[in-house]
């Protein structure tokens, strides 16, 4: 008796297994944000909308903290054999992910007729950090650039045209000198300009180097040019802002408190990410402007932010489903909505032609500055053994900015360290 009922139970269980709905195709998706908050809601909404339109696929967003925490989680999961199917991670981690053999190029699944067209639909500036060796490893999603914010009231007080930002290095120094308020004893109550240098100074430094018409690395990510004379010259200019011209606070300037310094009117101009646009809009109690970074020999900024990566250990079915999801999420309409909701730069030109985006830019023209600057943008510093090679530069920059070393000595040392790390990657 017991025997037959057990058999029946087993049969039932087997039937249930077979009858599992076709949407067993689940794609796990690491997204770099802490759980909760407005962005989580947007992502959850996107996943739900996608599932409604594609009943065969289930998207499971996993909120994985900061970018740094996310790559730690993704790579640890990869090493233990169960990585996510897709993940948004820093575009600069491309070489690291390739070297760990963790990701597959999108070209392996994007073989459909319109797929090549889709890959070509993004801004070329964003693709520089997404392609290497003729393959596309990342799909741009939440990307940013560096821009200059200025306090229009401070400009008016200093007798400058409040509607015109400095267009060149010389102008920026001139303006900043007029904007720096110093009392008789030499105490400064307002600095002219501030370029933060804590944590990841290389990113802002790339603004200076690009404007000085020099690259920090090659496209295959195995050689850096930290000690190029033009790079040293760019660093000298940065150091001079506080040392020689005395228009920027001395020492290392904290990235996190820079927007607050701006709100408190302690600085009249700041360089920071377009990702701060929504923050500044909400917290600045004065009229402010947003402009492209000033030009040295040319205009220039690095790009920044996160790309979609496809993990190698997922099944072909999962990868196909992931492609469907990523294509869906980067359509012009959704790229525009995402940009408006978060402040990131919408990643493809046709997103800016959508009615929603046009209306948004009309009401808030500052949003378009980042887009217009993209034509001058270059790839963010990214090499093999990326974080270590980048740290070599960061240490050198901070040593020069704190006066410990001359720009030339600091950059020579950074280059020596980068050479030591990259040598083995050039032997192929």
């Amino acid at each position: 008796m017991i025997d037959t009922s057990l058999k029946r139970l087993a049969a039932l269980a087997a039937a249930a297994l077979v009858a599992l709905p076709a949407w067993a195709q689940e794609i796990s998706f690491y997204y770099p944000v802490a759980v909760g908050g407005p962005i989580t809601k947007i992502i959850d909404g996107l996943a739900a909308d996608f599932e409604k339109e594609n009943p065969g696929i289930k998207v499971k967003p996993i909120y994985s903290g900061t970018y740094q925490e996310s790559i730690v989680k993704a790579l640890t999961a990869h090493k233990s054999g169960e990585p996510p199917v897709v993940s948004v991670l820093l575009s600069t981690d491309m070489f690291t992910l390739i070297d760990e053999d963790a990701i597959a190029p999108w070209d392996t699944v994007a073989t459909g007729a319109d797929d090549q067209q889709w890959i070509k639909s993004f801004y070329p500036a964003f693709m520089q950090n997404s392609q290497t060796g003729g393959k596309t490893w990342g799909i741009p999603f939440q990307r940013s650039t560096v821009v200059l914010y200025w306090n229009k009231e401070a400009f008016k007080e200093a007798g400058l045209d409040p509607n015109r930002a400095p267009a060149s290095w010389k102008e920026m120094v001139d303006y900043a000198q007029k904007l720096t308020k110093r009392d008789a004893s030499g105490k400064v109550s307002q600095w002219g300009v501030q370029v933060p240098s804590s944590g990841f100074p290389y990113w802002l430094f790339q603004g200076f180097t690009t404007q000085n018409n020099v690259q920090l690395m090659n496209t295959s990510g195995d050689t850096t040019f930290y000690d190029n004379p033009a790079v040293i010259e760019a660093l000298q200019f940065w150091v001079d802002l506080s040392g020689k011209h005395k228009v920027m606070p001395p020492g290392i300037i904290e990235w996190g408190t820079t927007p607050k310094d701006f709100f408190e009117r302690k600085i009249a101009m700041m360089w920071t990410t377009t990702g701060n646009l929504t923050n500044v809009k909400a917290n600045a109690k004065f009229d402010f402007g947003v402009a492209m970074l000033p030009a040295g020999k040319r205009r220039g900024t690095p790009t920044g932010g996160g790309n979609f990566y496809l993990f190698k250990k997922s099944t072909p079915q999962q990868q196909a489903a992931a492609l469907k999801f990523v294509k869906w999420v980067t359509t012009p309409k959704r790229a525009a909505e995402w940009g408006i909701a978060t402040g990131y730069v919408a990643v493809r030109p046709d997103a800016w032609d959508t009615p929603e985006m046009k209306k948004y830019v009309e009401g808030f023209p500052a949003a378009a500055v980042a887009r217009d600057q993209l034509q001058y943008a270059v790839a963010e510093l990214s090499t093999h053994d990326n974080q270590r090679v980048t740290k070599a530069l960061n240490d050198g920059l901070q040593a020069a900015l704190t006066g410990g070393k001359s720009p030339e000595a600091a950059m020579k040392e950074s280059q020596r360290e980068a050479e030591r790390l990259l040598r083995s990657y050039r032997r192929k």
Partner: protein, 294 residues
């Protein structure tokens, strides 16, 4: 050995087993595995780990950043341990007395311990901000000193982190001292008073020796913490400027989880283990003999 004692032995071992198994699994095995990994190269993608012998240790000796963070860590320990223990003892003696608002004062001293380090580090970040931070409002606006970039200068950044750590830890250690003080029988104080001993003499010859077991415990904790606490570095300086505020554990994190050089991270971890092991041995072996347990 008779049967009953054998049974007692087995019984004892069985009682120890769960804790021993957990310790072996999560402490001893990882420590040995780390030692093992430090003799191999880091596996990367298709390349498996190779036996490299002492290469990682040789690389470490030649790594200037390693020596710098080790030096930083010794300064950090020297700056935080004595001051936070002295401060804890002082606060404990004070709030142990009969003063008005004692409960409130105890709570106030203990608050920093309860708050998460990440949160307080964010608050301290703004304390140290040049020109309008709390510190500068005091030194610049009240004392008229020139403005200084506290976290952005190599010479002051470590001292700033030491202050945060002392502020965070002293209240925690105070609780142990407070408990120990309350365990000292009041009759000792009364006897000393009759003998005509002054307060300082009583503290030096009676209270302090009786507190020694607590001091040892607190000291061990303070030493461990000086190598273990790195949360505030992540928030406040990320080791900068130019590694001036990087500590050994933070550097291990950098090497292990940013550079993905697990072999070198293992090598550095062995150094950390050796330092902590040696100090623990010294503390227990040397100091304990001089401590009076009741």
């Amino acid at each position: 050995m008779n049967r009953a004692s054998a049974q007692a032995q087995i019984h004892g071992w069985l009682l120890l087993l769960p804790a021993a198994a957990l310790l072996a699994l999560f402490t001893h095995y990882p420590a040995l595995a780390t030692l093992w990994h430090s003799f191999y190269s880091s596996p990367k993608g298709g390349r498996p780990a190779l036996w490299v012998g002492l290469d990682n240790y040789r690389g470490m000796v030649e790594d200037p950043v390693f020596w710098q963070v080790l030096g930083n860590n010794l300064w950090f320990a020297a700056g935080t341990i004595p001051v936070s223990i002295a401060l804890a003892l002082l606060m404990a003696v004070w709030v142990n007395g009969k003063i008005a608002g004692r409960g409130f004062l105890r709570l106030a001293y203990f608050t920093p311990t309860v708050l998460p380090m990440i949160a307080v580090a964010n608050i301290w970040l703004f304390f140290y901000t040049p020109t309008y931070g709390l510190l500068e409002q005091f030194t610049v606006d009240l004392l008229g000193l020139p403005s200084h970039n506290w976290l952005g200068t190599k010479s002051t950044v470590l001292a700033c982190l030491i202050v945060v750590t002392i502020w965070k830890e002293a209240g925690f250690f105070m609780i142990f001292y407070l408990a120990a003080l309350q365990a000292i029988p009041p009759s000792l104080g009364e006897a000393a008073a009759i003998e005509g001993a002054g307060r300082w003499y009583y503290f030096r010859r009676v209270t302090f020796p009786l507190l020694m077991p607590t001091t040892l415990f607190v000291l061990v904790n303070a030493v461990i913490n000086s190598f273990r606490l790195v949360d505030h570095i992540v928030v406040m300086t990320r080791g900068g400027p130019d590694n001036a505020s990087s500590l050994l554990l933070y550097y291990i994190y950098d090497v292990g989880f940013k550079f993905w050089d697990s072999a070198y991270a293992s090598t550095l971890t062995m150094v950390l283990l050796a330092i902590l092991g040696t100090t623990a041995l010294l503390q227990f072996g040397f100091l304990e003999r001089r401590i009076h347990y009741r």
